[in-house]
Symmetry: C2
Subunit: 250 residues, 2 copies
Amino acid sequence: MVRSGKREADDDEARFLESYDPSTFDRPSVAVDVVLLSAFEGALYTLLVQRHEHPHKGRWALPGTFVRLPESLDDAAARALRDKAGLSGVFLEQLFTFGAPRRDPRMRVIAVAYYARVDRRRFAAAAEHKPDVAACRLEVPWPDEEGGPVGARDAAGAPLALAFDHADILGLAVKRLRGKLDYAPIGFQLLGELFTLYDLQRVHETILDRKLNKDSFRRRIVDSGLVKPTGRSQRGVGHRPAELYRFAKK
Amino acid sequence: MVRSGKREADDDEARFLESYDPSTFDRPSVAVDVVLLSAFEGALYTLLVQRHEHPHKGRWALPGTFVRLPESLDDAAARALRDKAGLSGVFLEQLFTFGAPRRDPRMRVIAVAYYARVDRRRFAAAAEHKPDVAACRLEVPWPDEEGGPVGARDAAGAPLALAFDHADILGLAVKRLRGKLDYAPIGFQLLGELFTLYDLQRVHETILDRKLNKDSFRRRIVDSGLVKPTGRSQRGVGHRPAELYRFAKK
DNA sequence: GAAATAGTGTCTTTAAGACAGTATGTG
DNA sequence: CACATACTGTCTTAAAGACACTATTTC
């Protein structure tokens, strides 16, 4: 009978699992690292944490943590962001998994990188969460989606020493962000609730690091239906005030 | 002095690494799984291996292996493909990392999924590599890039029981393949050295699961410069023979 | 009213879809 | 010569870029 055959196989598997010893093989450690991105004042910013422990003591690292056994990767990334930056409720997307054997000098650590886009206000709040957490301006040395490592600078403009392969992780996050912008106007995730179309255009220009055509940008965004006008306007801007828009949830 | 300060910090870090005990924390196992894709006869195909061991004994799984400590993720994926399918020299791309806590009943296993596109001939050779390896037709139940799990069927058309979360991995591989096709005519990676433009169009139509406009498809592909005409033609086709093209390496 | 940016209307350019019509093999 | 598919040329449509022009606020 098919049914008892299936039952028998299940029992067999249950017995196997009972006696299975998971400690047979050497295993790597698994960590998550989070690239928290924002864009304002014509530059891209990320959140970095200065390391007070070895290895790479003194260098700047992405907020991260080791993955606990009963916890999903997404949960570990959310926990890292909560503990290191005091942020919760942020939409996190998996970016890439970095697994070069010697990327951490202690031992084999495989890092699952995540990235998230937040608006300027939440970003500033996160940067003030702890004294060793800082908002750092990114230096992207390549155009379009060429790719490559990306460095960070402190408030005074001095280059920061990054820990591990975090310059590569930052590079991939920027590349992914630029790529996404080509087919999804996601810029408003980096803006507050209300924004003008030109605010949005400046965010896109900052991310892509090139000027965009104003006319076709407006047409494209309005036609996409992803933003809706609110009827309200800017105030006190020294020129004709622009209409304020809002992200249109579907 | 800055220099000796740096030197001192290095020595400090060296001492730290000397005394570091990596066995302090419980660690997950890390595996790689490879989605080998091809497209022919109007359908997408992948390579699956029947499991002869617990867990999920008897079910069909993607070729995979545990990652060894001194080995990169890319190398582990290439090794899995070599050992399970006898293929080497295939271009592998990382797809996504699956890390749900209970995706493997034995223990916590985090799977870094890879995917690769191969032509029909290499695919057939791989499928005949071992008796428990089979070329399986994929059933994609969703249009465009909606996403979701994807099942497989055996040569007789009967649905196969897939191991672990491999239906989800297959689903993401198909979604990624479709997405890539929108901005890169990569279809020729699934064809042999010489092919007609209509061969290429059929591959694209198979992947996207919809008809394409012949005129604009030809224009787009020829204008892209990614293929070049060879001057040679098909023979014995019962109609005017089409010119054979070749992938133009840059 | 000057300055500055918001917003509108229209022309041009480019790419995609539609489709008619010609070309060239096999049987 | 019939048939099937390859290939070419042209018309239409839609989106993007360019640009002229009007609108509305602060100073």
